[in-house]
Amino acid sequence: MSPLNNETVQKAFGVIRDEAKRRRDAFREEPVPKIQIGMATCGIASGALETKNAFEEVLAERKIKAHIRTVGCIGHCYAEPVVIMDHPESGFPPIFYHNVTPGKAKMLAKSFLEDGDPLFEHVLGAMEENDLVPQVLDFPRFNQEKRVVLEKCGCVDPEDIYEYIADGGYETLAKTLQLAPNEIIEEVQESGLRGRGGAGFPTGRKWDLARNADGQHKTVICNADEGDPGAYMDRTLLESNPHQVLEGMAICAYAVGAQKAIVYVRAEYPLAVKIVTKAIGQARELGLLGEGVLGSSFDLEIDVFQGSGAFVCGEETALIQSIEGNRGMPRHRPPYPVQQGLGGQPTVINNVKTLASIPPIIEHGATWFRAIGTEESPGTAIFSVVGNVVHAGLVEIPMGVTLRTLIFDICGGVPNKKKFKAVQIGGPSGGCLPEEFLDTPIDFDSLIQAGAMMGSGGMVVMDEDTCMVDVSRYFLDFTQKESCGKCTFCRIGTHHLLNTLERITKGEGRDGDLDQLETLSEDIKNGSLCGLGKTAPNPVLTSLRYFRDEYEAHVKERRCPARMCRTLTAFYIDLDKCARGCDACVGSCPVEAIFTTKNRKKGVDQSLCVKCGECMVACPAEYDAVMKVSPPDLAPVVD
């Protein structure tokens, strides 16, 4: 394909952009306050819908004029529901409020919109520099981030294509269509972008291979299968700013010479499916997709395919199998999908984040992108930092930032004065890194060297109360179920690993178990065809390497040092601390295992106790009488 008719494209896009700007200016200039509510899945889960209803009610009730606008997720999941209120007349800058419950919403509408009092006690910060309210950018959770991929998430309404365009969206596609495809591929190669789907394969090289492969019907697939059970950034991106992904897909399709593209989204993500489908419709309506994109000779159709929930279908050859209507079983590579993929034709498969990185790269150039991150891993990394961490949520940082900075400075460290123990990176294929590795820079190669991997970008922070053996067991339980069954080592090997780990967590470990875990793990790695089997033993191997003493305590002393493995722990009530006549724990127990002793204190019937820990939560802090011990025979007998 040669560069397309410049003038037509420019003109066609100009019309759309002017309309988008006109709409935005009209909205901005309207002299009424604006209320912006985050409405992605996490927001809705925290009650954003109720918050929105409360705002609507109070506005109607008190006849306050204001616009309510819904946007996607800005990644501050710990603060949901998040509301930004812009009330220029009050003299205050736009203000970011956190945890806005319906009650708070009504209060804010009354005092801020009516009386001009922004209620400082609920403010997280101001969105702009000013003299009245501290800026959010003064907090590390905001100012240490570098947003390239998530830049517009939480700022634009994902269901309105004009908002994305007014913010500079699709400009790059218009520019791309005026370049030769190989110029684009060169730029991407130059940028050093590596695939964000886990393996870090150079994207430019993949595109180049696809461009040069023989085939009339090439396809671009956006991999949004996101099977890692602790990562959700792909979903958030699709829910909050689908057009950036679609734009990246269109640029890719133009560069490699494809006319068909597919977004492969998990069916478990209904909101993402809905929003992407709507976005495709809007883009087609404006002529940004479909026949003759922006009046050029480039055609592109994008479809949505709903994945049916199999972890292995994130693997590219299995993904293709499932689109073709088969069981999602990986096959041998080569041939690689760029040579023979969907329907035997060359197919580019890229992760959501990889594709969303493309528009900014083409817009600002490869040199700009290379200036972010490290030499070998340019650009940013997105993590969903969750688990035992204060400011959980999505974080986008430049590659090369250390784990310590990410977990402690940006995300606020471990809550409840607990000690940090480990961080699990990369989901079921990744590993657990202990405190000594906190100064590891986050990039593809350093993480692999440390024994973890970038993987999907899931990051689970664990405190001292998390048992490493149990976490390994958890991951093996997952991979064992998800193994497609093609390779014997993966199918049966993971089953054996799981069995052994289950025995150990129940205190039935034997001598030699740990050595066997190690050798079997190596065998599974060597004997498996796809990445699932090759990486499934990683959680076991890294935790054995860094937390062997914990395994040994389980096997040799029947003791769980973190007091998490339930067979190995017991709860009891310290009679010296227990308050006579207090019944808090009794009501909290789901199985009625707590009885009253002769002197009107409480005891735990060990034969009934299911070790859920509710009584520990229920016991008033001033008594703090519920104790948890391992091994269980440390609990005194009470009658």
């Binding site: 996490c42 069981r327 859920c612 939560v617």
Partner: protein, 178 residues
Amino acid sequence: MIQENSLEEEKLILDDIASRLKAFGREREELIPILQMIQERHAYIAEDAIKMAAEYLGIAICEVYGVATFYNQFRFHPPGKNHIKVCLGTACHVRGGDIILENFERKLEIRDGETTPDREFSIERVACVGCCALAPVSVVNETVQGHMAPSKVEGLILGFKIEKEKAEREKKKSEPAQ
């Protein structure tokens, strides 16, 4: 035993599927979208529905069954009126998701993947619903419930039971006394 659908119900379901199948092509690639359509409309895939899909695409029944059982999404028994998904993703596991699952199981006296005999409740374990910051999480009838605790489990189920009783009472009231 779980109450089965009545024959009339079954026939309605199959008629609906038959009429909707026409919108699909007959290529193999349509298989998963067809199965998804069936489940979306009827919440599960009945044996006869599998036969219909196989006939429509001209492939063996065991092929369809093989594909359908490979994927976690598909169910082969009708779920309860209130479907409870308990997240056991990594973040939820670390925050005690299995305790929540156990509490649902104990309260409803069924295991995960099962439906109560009166078809009021069913439980399913899922991996990460994307709200890890609120762990542990459960999804009850599409509403995400964050920061779950055993006491919240009890409250939720009690809420449904009270609602049901109320509905039944109202129904009785509106029926003319005999």
